[in-house]
Symmetry: C2
Subunit: 244 residues, 2 copies
DNA sequence: TGCGCCGATGTGGTCAGACCACACTAGATT
DNA sequence: AATCTAGTGTGGTCTGACCACATCGGCGCA
């Protein structure tokens, strides 16, 4: 079924992955070795490697040493985020749908996290640290937003679902360009920052107290309010953005 | 920032997409043309094309005529599904997390769909047709599962959120191999089919009646029951699967 | 003895040019 | 008029070469 050469390479690598012959953190053999091993040209190997890279499975670097070559990583959020970005750009996914999905995902995650907090205490130190970091008065909008993203991701991670975490950070990454552009047009950024800080604190407190419904409601309102204020995800908009 | 040649090609194509110079359904210029236009080798163009293909943005075919060349499509579910499969294979996403996320996504979607049904009637003909098709007595397990997938996707689509639809069908595709393998081990497949049919009918009826909470509860129970019965997503399992 | 330089080595990144299989097109042939 | 055939342009593949880079090891100098 894999008639194209690069697909042969992919399926062989998939088999190695499934059988445990390849491990995350390890390295892929060199391109020339793979080409000889699978009896295809080096160009076909490279096409397969591009796909693996796009899938968040490897990271490549030239040179020599432990950081060089094609190193196996595990970044499921990267390909999902990239896919969302591309289809946003091609105007076949509305930004509003991503915003709505974020509300769904995050409110579930915070409800779940708060519920878990009731049965056994969660480690909230990372979230608390990020909350504190966002108090710094001299943060630029993009710096603040970067911390904001990490805070949200950290909260969602408390739910303990890797798929939900990956989708969450992918969505955030996918619309990041829109958010940055929209924030630049805000008239009262300092006021917005103050609001976001207090809302963040409330969300974290609700999770820490195990108040599931409250945590879910707070985060949904938080996301809704932010996107309404910035105008992102309202109606059809044909803005585009820069790639990372 | 795009130091590698294929990334130059990607960012140029992204710009064309954002500016509307490329449209879904249209075709990319030939590889040789792109190579000359962007002053890179044809191999670099091909690497970019492989990435676009992996992202569900183009479909390529050799030969000539309207179906040949690199044709722009919009399939956001494909890259997400592929990403889930790869990271499932590399054992960095638990199957259980996907199952849990499906419950979350689908119960939200059916609740939303039922709510929309109350304000304005939805078009349920596609779902009804799939429901009827699953009544055929001579379906093989894989045929039944294929219809089952389409039925679930059709129901979720009623919520009107393209991102949720894409994620839903991606998750279903991602674990398809596990499901097919697990179903083969069932002792009472006919009984399972009977159960699934009646549950499907109940879900569709609840949506049609605008009973949001009931629809959400039914689909969550439906998914949970199925995966419990088949054992998919229970504990850590190191099965693998075939690619499509 | 110790330090620093510098080439050897092997990695991914890139290029050029060639040929193949395929599918359609248009003209030549019957 | 119907059929065959050569032509054309597409993606798919291969070969072989060179570049940039990072490391490592040995040589030469202090």
């Amino acid at each position: 079924m894999a008639t194209r050469s690069y697909q042969i390479v992919l399926s062989r690598i998939e088999a190695d992955l499934a059988a445990g012959r390849l491990e995350i953190g390890g390295r892929l053999p060199g391109e020339r070795v793979l080409a000889q091993r699978y009896q295809v040209s080096r160009q076909s190997v490279r096409e397969a490697i591009r796909v693996l890279e796009a899938m968040g499975l490897i990271r490549t670097a030239a040179g020599s040493g432990p950081e060089a070559g094609a190193i196996l990583i595990a970044d499921p959020a990267a390909p999902i985020g990239a896919a969302l970005r591309w289809h946003l750009t091609s105007r076949h996914l509305p930004v509003a749908d991503i915003v709505r999905t974020r509300m769904l995902i995050e409110s579930w995650a915070l409800r779940e996290a708060a519920g878990r907090q009731r049965t056994g205490p969660l480690d909230l130190t990372a979230s608390r640290a990020l909350l504190g970091a966002m108090d710094a008065p001299s943060l630029s909008p993009s710096e603040f937003l970067a911390l904001d993203t990490r805070f949200h991701v950290a909260l969602v991670a408390l739910a303990g679902n890797a798929v939900v975490s990956a989708i969450m950070s992918a969505m955030r990454a996918g619309i990041e360009g829109y958010v940055v552009a929209a924030v630049a047009g805000l008239t009262d950024w300092p006021g917005m920052v103050t609001l976001l800080r207090s809302e963040h604190a409330g969300m974290l407190e609700a999770v820490g107290d195990g108040r599931a419904d409250r945590a879910a409601a707070l985060v949904a309102a938080h996301i809704d309010r932010f996107y309404r204020a910035t105008g992102v995800g309202q109606m059809d908009q044909q803005d585009h953005h820069e790639r990372g």
